[in-house]
């Protein structure tokens, strides 16, 4: 009993193996590494796509996305931003959702959403460049 007061961990939490999962550092670093990449990729995309696509023509979209540098940049932007997005939403879910079942469901949904969006978006860029 006296030990639980010293460690700030509840006896029930200790019995149920609650507490640090030991993977927080990797999460923390990944969020920051992706943020550094996005600090370059996101402004690049907004300005260059804005300038290229402001006429609203379909041909401009194709011209922009079939330029090799742009295609690679957009694939990077999609992959890195969706990963960053997934990590950020994980943090929000863990902060606000207390019921374990709901937390697990939302985190699964979040992971599936990121992977599905990434697959669809990158596949689309590849189709525009190599498909019929």
């Amino acid at each position: 009993m006296s030990q639980s007061q010293r460690t700030m961990r509840t006896p029930l939490g200790r019995v149920r193996h609650h507490g640090a999962a030991g993977e927080g550092t990797g999460h923390f670093i990944a969020l920051r590494v992706t943020s550094i990449a996005l600090a370059i990729l996101a402004p690049w995309f907004v300005v260059s796509a804005g300038l290229s696509l402001r006429d609203g023509e379909y041909a401009s979209v194709i011209d922009f996305l079939t330029e090799p540098v742009n295609a690679v940049g957009v694939v990077f932007l999609v992959a890195v931003s969706l990963y960053h997005m997934k990590l950020g939403m994980d943090e929000i879910i863990v902060d606000y959702i207390r019921r374990p079942a709901a937390k697990l469901m939302l985190m699964l949904l979040n992971a599936f959403a990121a992977w599905a969006l990434g697959a669809a978006a990158i596949f689309s860029v590849l189709v525009l460049n190599f498909g019929a």
């Binding site: 943020s35 379909y58 939403m89 969006l117 990434g118």
Partner: protein, 132 residues
């Protein structure tokens, strides 16, 4: 189990309504809100890429909505959310080094991030409409 130090009787952190509003608190809340908004924007961006790969017929429908006042308004707000999340994200990267944590510095950088979020979409709009 019962007693001054039992888990149920531990002091709670004050709830949100108790705190006096200050700009660093606002900047933290806005970071999370803009992150969630960018989650929605990422879904829209992936959808936009899919439709672009789908062909000019489908793209014309999406383009019509993007050109409409609500589409332009949504794009404007996305740029504002992105600008805020970018500026405040850089602010947090600086915080991670241990710099800028004095209250006066943190207040000033929080105001900078908010003003940047207002100025960046206006600047982009001016560039796209009146720039080169």
């Amino acid at each position: 189990m019962a007693g001054a130090n039992s888990p149920e009787n531990r002091p709670l952190s004050p709830h949100l309504q108790i705190w006096r509003w200050h700009v660093t608190m606002l900047s933290s809340i806005l970071h999370r809100v803009s992150g969630v908004a960018l989650y929605a924007a990422a879904i829209g961006f992936s959808f936009w890429l899919v439709v672009a790969a789908w062909g000019p017929g489908r793209y014309a429908i999406v383009s019509e909505h993007l050109q409409a006042w609500y589409g332009q308004g949504a794009l404007y707000l996305i740029v504002a959310a992105l600008a805020y999340h970018l500026a405040n994200g850089v602010r947090h990267l600086v915080f991670d080094t241990g710099a800028g944590l004095q209250p006066s510095d943190a207040d000033a950088s929080a105001w900078f991030a908010i003003l940047f979020a207002i100025a960046a979409p206006v600047g982009l709009w001016l560039l796209l409409n009146y720039g080169a």
